[in-house]
């Protein structure tokens, strides 16, 4: 299912097979939380910007429109007209970050919908059932995501619960597949490692969950308030304890430099809302000039594309001056063009990383770009 085809030190160039095609890794997954990409992009647009894999969210889609709607329409692929691989996050993170008045027990989590406040109970089994109705290619286990900083003892207990929940998720996932009639019979389950910024907890938890021999493992609970250095320290500690023959997914990370640094440490899968969010505020990535702010007066007459080194559908057509005007005039097209460029940039960054590893030039690539692209021009 996963094959590492080339390594350079810890960096890996791999291929992951799904029922909807291969994923070439390292990969940046494009976030479609509510089955749509922010900035008015459709699945058809994603084909043009090098997107390999879409990430959608169990919590959001459960609340709206409900998995019964998506399931009855043939699953998420058909619903959003995306025929490539889809990964669904379990909703664990969103229950903790978006909903108030949550009540966590070993049984599951009771929380208030961020839309209308209604009380909802979600057990690990529920998350898996929902993801089965959605029909994603990769489902994620339901975990407890702990804020940072957190008390050692709380994180330890939370990790133990996340392990118990993972065992229940895995059991439920197998049960559903054995029942037959699933929207996506080839769906696989990834486990999630937790442990905050405590290296020993991270390592112990990883050792526990790898026993389940799942097709992939994610690292959750990072990029939630800790420093970049702490994040890299956790990766340095835990990644060597992840199975070498399974894909490794660093959830919700991050800046271009974060991605380059995590690839160096052996990570294969990424997702992040940052490129789309930055784009919606006029902050655009360029390879040579760092992150530029198109709201700046100096671009008012600028005929150049956002990035003169970019082959995206926006840079091949539109000027900085035009897109800046669209932002100033509050035209939705500003956000769309910005998101197209920034997502293309991230997808292309992953492609450049893959090429660099293939050619044994990843260290040079990292030396040239890490720590630079993120800087404001």
């Amino acid at each position: 299912m996963f094959k590492v085809i080339k390594t350079q030190n810890s960096a890996r160039r791999g291929v992951f097979n799904t029922p909807h095609g291969e994923i070439q890794t390292p990969v940046f997954m494009n976030v479609a939380t509510q089955a749509a990409i922010k900035g008015a992009l459709s699945a058809a647009d994603l084909k043009q910007i090098g997107c390999q894999t879409v990430l959608s969210n169990t919590y959001h889609l459960h609340l709206r429109p409900g998995e019964q709607v998506i399931g009855s329409l043939g699953g998420l692929h058909k619903f959003m007209c995306w025929d490539g691989p889809i990964l669904t996050d379990s909703g664990g993170f969103q229950v903790f970050s978006l909903s108030k008045l949550r009540n966590i027990t070993d049984e599951g989590v009771e929380f208030s919908s961020h839309i209308d406040g209604r009380r909802i109970f979600m057990a690990p089994e529920d998350s898996i059932r929902i993801q089965s109705r959605l029909g994603s290619d990769i489902a994620l286990a339901f975990d407890e995501c702990v804020e940072s900083p957190a008390e050692y003892e709380y994180v330890k207990k939370s990790c133990e619960r996340t392990t118990r929940w993972l065992i229940r998720c895995n059991k439920e996932h197998k049960t559903i597949l054995s029942e037959g009639g699933a929207v996506n019979p080839g769906q696989v389950l990834f486990g999630i490692n937790q442990g905050g910024t405590f290296e020993d907890l991270r390592i112990n938890h990883m050792k526990e969950i790898r026993e389940l021999d799942l097709p992939g493992y994610a690292i959750g609970g990072l990029s939630v308030g800790e420093s970049t250095e702490e994040m890299y320290r956790v990766l340095d500690a835990v990644v060597p304890h992840m199975p070498a023959d399974k894909p490794r997914y660093l959830m919700g990370v991050g800046t271009p430099s974060n991605i380059i640094e995590a690839v160096k440490r052996g990570i294969d899968f990424f997702d992040c809302v940052l490129p789309a969010r930055n784009a919606r505020h006029g902050h655009m990535y360029t390879l040579k000039d760092g992150c530029i702010n198109l709201n700046n007066e100096k671009y008012k007459y600028d005929e150049k594309p956002i990035d003169t080194n970019c082959d995206c559908p926006v840079c091949s057509r539109f000027s900085r001056a035009y897109i800046r005007h669209l932002f100033k005039a509050k035209e939705m097209l500003a956000m769309r063009l910005g998101v197209i460029h920034n997502l293309y940039f991230y997808n292309n960054l992953a492609a450049m990383i893959r090429a660099a590893i293939e050619q044994d030039k990843f260290d040079e690539f990292r030396g040239e770009y890490s720590g630079r692209i993120d800087l404001r021009a």
Copy 2:
């Protein structure tokens, strides 16, 4: 420049030549007020939905980004990457509908910017100079648009001023072209007929302005509060006094039925914000079922496209259930897909009208569709 290639009673099938290609008439022009189509559509998208001609606005582009920006970047075509015909409205209507504290004299209008309140003076010559910098293919004369209802005596005096302004616009337009170096040396000027709902004023004004032998004439100041019957009554009165060999443009109109009824009365050009505005609220046009509201609960599980008889890029892919979800989830993609469909619908309506006139079947077409498409299902 304009050739009527077929008529059926008063309805005309024509071709208008511009420096950026032919316009097949009757035509529905797609509104890009601020050099962008509402709903995050770019010029590239317009190519896919049968758009022939874009309409942009002098008032808005003068305020933001300013004609000096667009002119220095090579004009509106290059700025927004649209290589087809562009018509620019003169700003007359917007000065009267958007800006407060306006002060009208024979010299011109002083008004407050609707963006930041700063005082701006615009004479007819200014509007023409701005449109020249924008480089549109068709410029419109600067007119006074009178609200409805209005006093007969005021409308009469206003018409006289609009005639004096038209003469100044025409003179300025010729001066600019004779100076050489215009962004678009092939730009032409259309005059605008006013007169409120008073048939005698409309006819007198039309007789006056046709003396200038301009390449086209618009009817302004309709669809501003009068009833549909009053509008048709005005058209019945004034259109016979418009030159038969020049295109006739009914500004800012209207519903599908308005367009069919106006074509019957001899109108060739149309523009309206209605299809895009309706789309942004979830109201979608269909040929057989009238205007449907996708917010309606009954579409929650509906796998059908918006219009089963539609070949637009949205209907060939996405379900009502998906687009309804996008509206409920407040995803920008909802508006984009809606606008693509509704603009395609209007562009296709004009294409169907052209085909009907060519085949001497316009009366049957009118009998089948007029008064029906606009109705809410």
